[in-house]
Symmetry: C2
Subunit: 158 residues, 2 copies
């Protein structure tokens, strides 16, 4: 969201475009030789001889052709790649976890069904028996059971 009718394409600095190149030297560009043309080197930060720490200015402009720059880039590229790989892996793992959990869920649900069934059978049996007893002789332990407590097949937890 947000797009203006403008074709900006570049990372401009805070007002100072730091672009510099040229000198297509050799540097081991095993990657590829690039070259940019513009050469805009910002003047020194401040004509002053002093440098105030609490200041908030851009640091040394980075030289694109610098050896260090290239090295830094390369390292970062590597790090980026690593990071992305890891990120992707994680996403994949998460997805798999979902599948596993789903399976587990089904398993549990099946178990619940089974237990419920067992329970209901047992309860019915029990009730039936209790009736029989009541029909003939006064129950002994049967009455102790408190059927109301165990007879709710529909277990409602929260």
């Amino acid at each position: 969201m947000s797009k203006q009718p403008q074709k900006i394409t570049n990372t401009e600095q805070n007002g100072v475009s730091v672009i510099q190149s040229q000198a297509h030297s050799s540097i081991a560009n095993s990657t590829a030789g690039l070259q940019q043309v513009p050469q805009l080197v910002p003047v020194s930060p401040r004509g002053g001889g002093k440098a105030s720490p609490p200041s908030k200015m851009k640091k040394t402009i980075l030289d694109k052709d610098s050896d260090e720059y290239r090295q830094r880039r390369e390292r970062n590229n590597l790090a980026v790649k690593k990071s992305r790989m890891r990120s992707k892996q994680k996403a994949q793992d998460t997805q798999q976890r979902v599948n596993e959990l789903k399976e587990e869920n089904e398993r549990l649900e099946a178990k619940i069904k089974l237990l419920s069934k067992e329970l209901s059978v047992l309860k019915d049996l029990f009730l039936e028996h209790a009736h029989n007893l009541a029909d003939n002789v006064p129950p002994a332990t049967a009455a102790t059971v408190a059927p109301g407590d165990l007879c709710n097949t529909n277990n409602s937890s929260q």
Copy 2:
């Protein structure tokens, strides 16, 4: 500590795409007034009469300064952004799904525990009663129960 980059995978943005040759050039881009050097025309990829549609050669080299090019880029950038947003959203959703499933899992597990408990209580009661009966009078329906079937609290599915 890791490895050294040694691949020549480079598709730098600035430097044109290195399709299959080592042609690269181009310049930068800028936002404000920076001139570019739109002079970059890779030679024809195939030296031949070409003109065969079914051929698999690169098409006209794209001009960076072309209006259409810019437009195409802009569109793609938009699409990319959208795609990435969606991707991220999806990952997030998946993560949440994991959480939900985990919760559900716990719930189910608790329920199982409860049912198991109920079942065991009922069974014990039942057995006890059966014993009582056996002690006094020969059982009637109690024998029909086949305790072995219902007494495995530890339900082991597959």
